[in-house]
Symmetry: C2
Subunit: 137 residues, 2 copies
């Protein structure tokens, strides 16, 4: 009644079994109890946890970073200054990335919009050149 097989978790969280075992080995999900014969039995929270992981991954958190967040989440008492440090650092990275993406978007947008609509020289789009100026970052 209580406890899910690895397959049920995999299906519910929309990942495959190997991924779950992999997360276990990386310490991202708690080590689940086993049946007598050695089958893993997962609490249903595991599904939420995997959702969390997948969500954070989409935002370019590495598994290592996600592990940290989850550790904070797990320990009910935690030094929040540490996680605060971590998150504000991550926020900065995100802000950088957003700015870069907005730049890129502008460049692409101009490339798409300003250029003549059919066959023409790409050099009529002076914007592509902006890209080639200066060193990266």
């Amino acid at each position: 009644m209580n406890g899910l097989s690895i397959k049920e978790v995999a299906k519910a969280a929309n990942v495959n079994k190997e991924t779950i075992r992999y997360y276990e080995s990386r310490g991202l999900i708690p080590i689940p109890p086993r049946t007598e014969s050695g089958y893993r039995i997962f609490p249903k929270e595991t599904i939420k946890r995997i959702n969390f992981i997948k969500h954070a991954q989409e935002l370019d958190f590495t598994l290592e970073e996600i592990k940290k967040l989850l550790e904070a989440y797990d320990e009910e008492i935690v030094d929040l200054r540490e996680i605060k440090e971590f998150t504000t650092q991550k926020i900065k990275e995100i802000e950088f990335k957003i700015r870069d993406l907005q730049n890129m978007k502008r460049v692409l947008f101009n490339l798409a919009e300003k250029c003549p609509d059919s066959k023409a020289s790409i050099f009529e789009c002076p914007l592509i050149q902006k890209f080639t100026e200066g060193g990266s970052k």
Copy 2:
């Protein structure tokens, strides 16, 4: 006088030699001429080209995508509808990503700001829970 060694290019573009050879093998930079003894001689445009690649990489373009952009850049006459398609598609991806990052930033910001400043239960930050709701994406 005209033409740079691989090391000069590497230094100027701030990558290392292997990377340049790798880009050549992937078709990202034109195949350079060689000296009689087989040493590559690069035109100085190669530096700009590598800058372009690095810049685009920071924005999560894959080398394959960058190759496409560069091909458009190389062929002076190109069907711009195709590249327009490509860029508008990419713009959409970027917009998605920006939205996701802004969400993430908000979540992290709240986590960092609203939580008590030192030791406390992380569950006093209800925001971390928002994270675990629903499916990914």
